[in-house]
């Protein structure tokens, strides 16, 4: 594999982590988020700053995770007040707030972002392997949660919050758990991303990115770990493999959102689920 292919693998793994982490919040727990890139960004900025001040790579990744999770906890607490459409708009607002804040902070490089992020010391192979390993770990965590008690509580909340509460499920706690887990993983992805590109600007974490992550979840099949994994890898690689597509990348993402929602709201996983079921393996919990 050349360095170009390696960078594609790393990028696909980063986006797969992001999509899987959004899937925890939106797919499993039913809390729609239109501002996921903000947590990705929070993690990237935190990791970049720590690395630049001389901290080791692992600490930088940890810092990214921690900052994003704290940010996620705050947003999670705030979003307990609102539901459905209001939640969608609130999380979108959080995305714009994050961007608007970062753009104006001299300490964060304002519009110019942060450049010269130190080398992670793993080499291209090492970073690609790390990103893939983290993605696999996220996928395993997702599959495990789905079958664990927490996953069932998430599903109950996604299905009908009031009924879930009546059944004695601690809705507040599980919603916060979903938000913190999802945003922590997004922050981790941000830390890897910052060290992968070694140069970050506010626009790399804007609304378009939030929507791209959402597109991966939707196209793959909201709630399905395997589907989301495939969706993320596909949507990241497609524009790279077919260079002529690159100019039409957003057009394709938009069309996919439109067409999938209009004709196959279960996404890939939903469309393929009957085939898998016949083969004897359930294709996740695609709704």
């Amino acid at each position: 594999m050349g360095s170009y292919e390696l960078s594609l693998v790393t990028l696909a793994a980063i986006y797969a982590m992001l999509a899987l982490s959004l899937n925890l919040i939106t797919g499993f727990c039913g809390q729609i988020s239109l501002g996921h890139a903000a947590f990705f960004g929070a993690g990237a900025y935190a990791a970049a700053l720590l690395s630049k001040s001389g901290g080791p790579f692992v600490a930088a990744l940890g810092a990214g995770m921690l900052v994003a999770a704290l940010f996620g906890l705050v947003v999670g607490l705030a979003s307990l007040r609102v539901r459905h459409d209001f939640l969608a708009i609130t999380t979108m607002g959080v995305g714009f707030l994050f961007l608007g804040f970062v753009r104006k902070q001299k300490a964060l490089g304002a519009e110019l972002g942060i450049s010269g992020i130190p080398d992670h010391g793993l080499g291209a192979w090492g970073l690609a392997l790390l990103a893939v390993a983290l993605t696999v770990a996220t996928a395993i965590l997702s599959l495990h949660i789905r079958r664990a008690w927490a996953g069932r509580a998430f599903a109950a909340i996604a299905d009908d919050e009031d009924t879930a509460r009546t059944m004695g499920i601690d809705v507040v706690r599980y919603k916060l758990v979903a938000f913190v887990m999802g945003t922590a993983i997004a922050g981790l992805a941000g830390g890897v991303f910052a060290h992968f590109t070694r140069f970050i600007i506010p626009d790399a974490f804007g609304f378009t990115v939030s929507i791209s992550i959402l597109a991966m979840v939707i196209v793959g099949g909201i709630g399905s770990t395997w589907g989301v994994l495939v969706g993320a890898v596909m949507l990241t690689l497609l524009p790279e493999l077919f260079r002529f597509i690159n100019d039409y990348k957003l057009l394709i993402y938009g069309s996919l959102l439109l067409l999938v929602m209009r004709f196959a709201p279960g996404g890939l996983a939903g469309a393929l689920a009957p085939l898998f079921r016949r083969a004897g393996t359930a294709a996740g919990g695609a709704r």
């Binding site: 239109l34 459905h84 459409d85 969608a88 708009i89 714009f96 707030l97 957003l250 057009l251 929602m261």
Partner: protein, 286 residues
């Protein structure tokens, strides 16, 4: 004096938001859809108007074609996109609508180019002044158009037979249907009116900036979503108040906290703060 100028500037922007947000809240009130693609129709209106105005030399002709054409396009969006997915969970229509909006923006960029179109002769660029306060002709027209069109809308809703049918459908569709209201027709007219209002807002903005570009809908699209949430989704009077309030808050915010947050973030900061205190919006009845 600065305060007065900021207030006026805020009211001018607020009028533009109002023209767009009222259409959005009408759609929400009727169908519970967050119609993000509304801003795509808005941009379409500006493009039709600028192309016709430049070809014919008449801005009025451009507006006269663009407004009904965008109204029809809005009806088509309802028929082709929303109608088949009305019974799905609300996020389905929202995400589909975001998808359509992205597709529309990209289509404008690919068809008309990324740099935008300008009017070959700028309109209403002169400055009107009363004493020390002044505004551009296009800005004055914006405020007049917003108040004129929205008053007309309120009158139609109150005084005409169709207005009664429309209000009945908003408050209880099943009941309205059993009283013989053609609720499907109400939906089409609703989309026609909402999209026409968006087109008129876009034409005024295009004249004001003398620029029509593919992304001109981006900022208003998400900001008007914030406005209709603040106005108490589906509440027209609340939306109007929230539009003007946001216009003024932005104008002041850019001056006083502009070093901390950019303009768009100020709008959303206001939104998030309000939602934390009143999750149902500023002016929601229930």
């Amino acid at each position: 004096m600065l305060q007065l100028e900021l207030t006026i500037q805020g009211l001018i922007n607020g009028s533009m938001y109002a023209l767009m947000a009222v259409g959005l809240t009408l759609v929400y009130g009727l169908l519970r859809i967050l119609h993000v693609a509304h801003a795509g129709l808005y941009t379409l209106g500006a493009y039709i108007a600028v192309l016709i105005a430049n070809a014919s030399g008449s801005l009025l002709l451009g507006a006269a074609v663009a407004i009904p054409a965008v109204g029809l396009a809005g009806m088509a969006v309802y028929r082709l996109l929303y109608e088949p997915i009305l019974d799905r969970p609300p996020y389905v229509a929202l995400i589909a609508s975001i998808g359509l909006f992205i597709v529309m923006e990209e289509a404008y960029r690919l068809v008309f180019g990324p740099y935008g179109e300008t009017f070959s002769t700028p309109y209403l660029a002169g400055r009107l002044a009363i004493g020390p306060i002044g505004a551009k002709g296009a800005e004055v027209l914006m405020v007049i158009a917003a108040f004129g069109l929205l008053t007309l809308l309120a009158l139609l809703a109150r005084r005409t037979r169709f207005g009664v049918a429309w209000r009945a459908t908003v408050s209880d569709p099943a009941m309205a249907r059993s009283f013989g209201v053609d609720t499907i027709k109400v939906r089409y007219v609703n989309f026609f009116v909402a999209s026409g209002l968006a087109a008129s807002a876009a034409i005024l903005v295009a004249v004001l900036n003398n620029l029509v570009e593919p992304t001109m809908g981006s900022v208003p699209s998400y900001k008007t979503l914030a406005i209709i949430v603040l106005g108490g989704l589906g509440n027209v009077a609340g939306t109007l108040a929230a539009s003007l309030a946001l216009g003024v808050i932005e104008a002041f915010g850019t001056i006083y906290i502009g070093h901390l947050l950019d303009r768009d973030a100020i709008a959303f900061l206001f939104l998030v703060l309000v939602l934390m205190i009143r999750p149902q919006g500023l002016f929601a009845a229930k």
